[in-house]
């Protein structure tokens, strides 16, 4: 049995009186692509934001590589290898592609590592190399998403948390993004991805969790969930 790289136990998060996440437990093994699927407002984003330290849990435990991260600052989490790509791309529009990437390596003190990271990112996203002196604002939506992912990779993550990476993209780019997610995993980075595009996400995922109203209602391998009648009916459009 492999030891999970990320383990979430009985996690609950509230926004004021609203219970956004209730008693959620799941784990991610090294080298896996794990997806959380569910409708809008099911609490998927909140779970990611809590893992990366942007939200505080009410109860529950989160551990990364067997160490509790409950009281770790979000900066510490990034430097220990948990990097979050927030929803909606969020590149720095007035900065060039290269400056955006540079900020991705903010927590990496070793300058030699920056070079290696640049090379890796430019190898994975040749378009970013072509556009490296362009302002991020001039990139297309798909290119911005690649930049956001590339920027996260600059931090040398062990696990990358992707929040709706395919949202609002043209179909061609959606395909590309999912191919990239597999590529990232193949380079040894564990992936936790949340998606409304459940069909695509489950196809590439090793395992998935279905979330409804802040609770996990089903789990299984990607293939199992894809063929489950219940999941098909609710999230895959019959």
């Amino acid at each position: 049995m492999v030891e999970a790289v990320l383990r979430v136990e009985n996690l609950s998060v509230n926004y004021g009186a609203i219970k956004a996440v209730q008693n959620v437990s799941f784990s991610v093994n090294p080298g896996e692509i794990v997806t959380l699927i569910g409708a809008n407002g099911a609490g998927k984003s909140t779970i990611l934001r809590t893992i990366s330290g942007l939200e505080k849990p009410v109860t529950g435990n989160m551990s990364f590589e067997k160490q509790s991260i409950n009281h770790m600052s979000s900066e510490k989490r990034v430097s220990s290898g948990i990097v979050h790509v927030p929803e909606g791309r969020r590149v720095f529009p007035g900065m060039t592609v290269q400056e955006n990437l540079q900020l991705g390596a903010f927590t990496v003190a070793n300058k030699n590592q920056h070079k290696v990271a640049y090379n890796n990112v430019y190898e994975q996203f040749p378009i970013l190399k072509t556009r490296r002196h362009q302002d991020a604002a001039t990139l297309s939506g798909g290119e911005q998403q690649m930049l956001a992912i590339g920027r996260a990779l600059m931090a040398n993550p062990k696990i990358i948390l992707l929040d709706e990476p395919s949202m609002g993209l043209a179909p061609l780019y959606i395909k590309k993004i999912f191919a990239i997610i597999q590529q990232i995993r193949d380079t040894g980075v564990t992936v936790l991805v949340i998606e409304q595009n459940a069909n695509q996400a489950l196809k590439i995922a090793d395992r998935g969790y279905v979330i409804e109203s802040g609770q996990i209602i089903a789990t299984g391998t990607g293939a199992e969930l894809l063929s489950s009648d219940e999941v098909r009916a609710s999230y895959l459009g019959g």
């Binding site: 990034v78 540079q102 991705g104």
Partner: protein, 324 residues
């Protein structure tokens, strides 16, 4: 790349030297007189304060309405310390004292307010500047509302010119540093910055503290130059005067701040002849600029020698598509 950089730095240095020589020549032939000299010094002082405020407003995107409070701290530090030690060393020590006190107070104000998102800093600084002024009025050592007179003068236009250049070079380089880029990242997208491991509060506070420190230098220079300080010099209107320079020049544009500080300084002199109409015309100019250049005179762009001097004949190995 390095050669181009040297060329670029040298051409800036030449420009600065040319301005220096120009002012120097006007003083030799006494073209502008004592009054003109005073204007140049006050422009330089406003410039230092405004560059500091632009660091806060333009770079970190936080609104500060209490810049005069930090100027007052610098001014009173210089008044008290350099009166006690009337030598150039006393003056230098007084500037350092002002910078430190101002920085500590900015830290105390910034830490709690900059944790919150929203314009809390504006409200807090508004209050803090008033508190500083009222403390000064009520303290014995600052001689209350009457102020302090007979402060030894160690400031001439050369000192102010030199320190203005240092302040501008410092801020421009700071903006390009890793810390500066982090501050801009926080301004542009706080969530993205946080997700990259940038401590958003820390970098907002750094910008605010540095801005307050520059204000203290401006205050100290002013106190020494006009040889007196009084609480009336550092009211809310003084904060607004500096704010106008930043907003009119273009929030986030250091060159805009420099140009506006100079233009408004000269405008102020010209308008002296108009008596009571002065403030009306001044206000009209501000309104007209805001109508035709709502983002300020230079918007967010920077004046670039690179573009003017080196971009006439194709590519010079500089990738400056970003510079306007």
């Amino acid at each position: 790349m390095d050669k181009a950089h040297i060329k670029y730095t040298l051409s800036w240095a030449t420009l600065v030297l040319m301005i220096f020589v120009f002012i120097y020549v006007t003083t030799i032939f006494d073209v502008i007189g004592q009054y003109g000299m005073t204007t140049i010094v006050l422009i330089g002082i406003n410039l230092i304060a405004a560059v500091g405020l632009n660091l806060v407003i333009g770079m970190s995107g936080q609104f500060s309405l209490g810049h005069a409070g930090f100027m007052a701290i610098g001014a009173y530090a210089t008044a008290l310390v350099s009166s006690a030690i009337p030598s150039i060393y006393g003056f230098i020590i007084s500037l350092i004292v002002g910078i430190m006190v101002s920085g500590v107070i900015a830290l105390a104000v910034g830490l709690p307010t900059l944790r919150l998102s929203g314009d809390y800093l504006a409200i807090a600084t508004l209050g803090v500047a008033e508190i500083i002024r009222i403390i000064i009025i009520n303290m014995k050592s600052t001689r209350g509302a009457a102020g302090i007179f007979g402060i030894p003068n160690f400031v001439n236009w050369q000192v102010v010119f030199g320190l203005s250049v240092v302040a501008i070079v410092f801020v421009v380089n700071f903006v390009r540093s890793t810390t500066g880029q982090a501050i801009i990242a926080v301004r542009d997208n706080e969530i993205a910055a946080e997700s990259l491991g940038i401590n958003t509060t820390k970098y907002k506070v750094i910008a605010f503290v540095l801005g307050a420190m520059l204000a203290a230098i401006a205050g100290g220079l002013r106190a020494s130059f006009i040889q007196s300080v009084s609480p009336q010099d550092y009211t809310f209107m003084q904060s607004i005067t500096i704010l106008i320079i930043v907003v009119l020049g273009g929030i986030g544009s250091i060159s805009g701040t420099v140009v506006t500080a100079i233009v408004l300084g000269i405008l102020d002199v010209i308008l002296q002849n108009f008596g009571s109409l002065r403030m009306v015309i001044y206000a009209l100019v501000l309104i007209i600029v805001m109508i035709f250049r709502p983002k300020g005179l230079l918007g967010t762009s920077e004046f670039s020698l690179k573009k003017i001097l080196f971009d006439s004949g194709g590519d010079h190995g500089n990738n400056n598509s970003k510079n306007q």
